[in-house]
Symmetry: C2
Amino acid sequence: MTTKPLTVAIAGLGTVGAGTVKLLQEHAGLLAERSGRPIRLKSVSARDRKRDRGIDLSQVHWVDDPLALAVDPEVDVVVELIGGSDGVAKALVEKSLHDGKHVVTANKALLAHHGNALARLAETSGVSISYEAAVAGGIPIIKLMREGLAANRIKRVYGILNGTCNYILTEMRRTGREFADVLEDAQRLGYAETDPSFDVDGIDAAHKLSILASVAFGCEINFAGVHVEGIRHVSAVDIAFAQELGYRIKLLGIASLSDHGIEQRVHATMVSLDTAIAHVEGVFNAVVTIGDYVGQNVAEGRGAGAGPTASAVVADLIDLARKRALPTFAIPASKLARLPVAPMERHYGAYYVRLMVKDRPGVIADVAAALRDERVSMEAMLQRGRAPEEVVPVVITTHETEESSMRRALARIAKLDTVAEPPRMIRIESLTA
Amino acid sequence: MTTKPLTVAIAGLGTVGAGTVKLLQEHAGLLAERSGRPIRLKSVSARDRKRDRGIDLSQVHWVDDPLALAVDPEVDVVVELIGGSDGVAKALVEKSLHDGKHVVTANKALLAHHGNALARLAETSGVSISYEAAVAGGIPIIKLMREGLAANRIKRVYGILNGTCNYILTEMRRTGREFADVLEDAQRLGYAETDPSFDVDGIDAAHKLSILASVAFGCEINFAGVHVEGIRHVSAVDIAFAQELGYRIKLLGIASLSDHGIEQRVHATMVSLDTAIAHVEGVFNAVVTIGDYVGQNVAEGRGAGAGPTASAVVADLIDLARKRALPTFAIPASKLARLPVAPMERHYGAYYVRLMVKDRPGVIADVAAALRDERVSMEAMLQRGRAPEEVVPVVITTHETEESSMRRALARIAKLDTVAEPPRMIRIESLTA
């Protein structure tokens, strides 16, 4: 094996970029031992040269134009940590691949939108794209699925893929406070962005889910085919009812193969307290895979932050130093299947429904009739406290039914005089080992 | 990349061997796609040719002498599934490595006892030993530590490494029954061997722990340096008290680096209900790693059985098909450190102690004095129910202290007139994220 160093350039020196530089420097000896050769950081590029990032860049070339990294003949790998699905990040990755350089990236948006084309480009150029850091940073889930569980046909993969949402839902449960209130705190603490939409509306989790699905099922990435809902509509009262019913509410990304095609969905989900994932709290992420031979596998770790993400970036670099590149999505890009998208209306599952109704005789009978007319079978009904003629919450859980029936039933219920607000629906997942 | 098949021979056709054959046959196409070339099973060897194993061996050579597999020039990889730390398994592995064949094995006893020498032999011969199936079968923990977390200095690794013990402890808690009683059931159900010592006395977990420690810390395997206790002394009353104190009792294997050297221990452990590992139940295994950049990582899955173990064996074969062999214990055998063993007396931690005492005034004062004299600080004391002059359980938990102090205090307590049975001690681990 060669002992020539693997030469690396990093574009983007935010939290993750700076963490990666620090790791490469602090663990240089350890990494050389584990990689069989040194990993040498040759050059970096970022917007502001003067900013103090708490790292020593005295031995590193500073390059103003990130695109210049892509054509440096000495560089073996370009690490893209700029972010964003288009713009400079995309240009840099394309140019690097074209020029025969391996790419390591933490950019889920880029892969979700352009992963198929980039995988083909990498293959044509005889190089690879590594992206362990793009999904659940501290969990080596890409390696787990693409290699560790590679002997299995994966039937289902799901997980807590966004730490911000999990932090908010955990805090809501612990404190009984409402979403907006906890979000404000999270923003102050730096756990949520000023524009939180990307996280709390489920888009970030959907990016990651589309990547997981591709690796799991050997299919092209289909981000447009992900059904996406966020957590803004989850209320403190739902969290309290969930607890009473033996559930926790988590924002899950779920991908599975059904008779109708590939199902990819991101939404608030009730999961039983008996499951491992129910106990994954705060900023932690977790991914569960079900393989036909191995059964259930759960992986849990920090989803973001400088340390965990740098750990993932550098793990990819070690693999490259050892010349262990793989096809981007586990099999050659030309062989990735183009799977039909199962319409969400055909989803089959159980539901939690919360109604705000006027507390008056006959209300429940009307609701029950609407469900019956759409052939939705009630599993339980809860009304806590009495307050005649006032608006009170009523909660219903259903047996498994098709989503289309559920939606029709909810449309009927919404029209009842006694129902004061639009019904709130949260899907219940039966996640057994 | 070559498209010549990877040619494989399997020695040992018990549950795991038969499962591996089935997987290789059933997923042949999938495996070829993911490996970049076919994985071809050429020959097998087992004791009884006539036994019906529910697999089709019509296309496979049957070889009576397993050692013959080691010298077949067509074979690239010998899969050793015979078991046992010596005898045929050892002879086959050595001969195969000598002959320049890669070895894949599920044999933890062999590695625990002879891993260092075998790693050196593999290196000399320019081949590799893969052993994902040897530790926590369904969890790709070797890949996780050796590759996924390779950018980190691992500070601590611990886990539930024996499914039989976890099954027994889970059943004891669920039913309130005693150890011997549940063990008998487990034996009837096939979850425990007729001679259960290997499992319930902690030896199997210790084998696995010694392997994990080597990969985590880059040191030689030191099985003799593992402090091993089993679960025979855990009583239903301890499990009930644990629950009351907010703990579960698990048989954990724990390896860490301390100022005194490497600490490796297997023993019943009280873990807080707040931790992920407390909720890993039945035959499931889990491994937790703490890395300096990545933080805490938890991996959970089935620890044994045909499917999960075959999944691990074949994952190793896929890596070999892709020519992705690595040094046995992450770094070259010659570079593995020989770490001093931290004596168990120097272990620093909290303790649960259960005493069976005569319910009489002054007992607790005597016990408290013994603890005080050895500078052990009590955290809590529980005595449920009164029964003057009868023998009742009293439970004490302590703050963190050195094990030597604890042992001296227990020796004093054992000598008290009012203490009817030898004190029972269970270590409490504070496992925080």
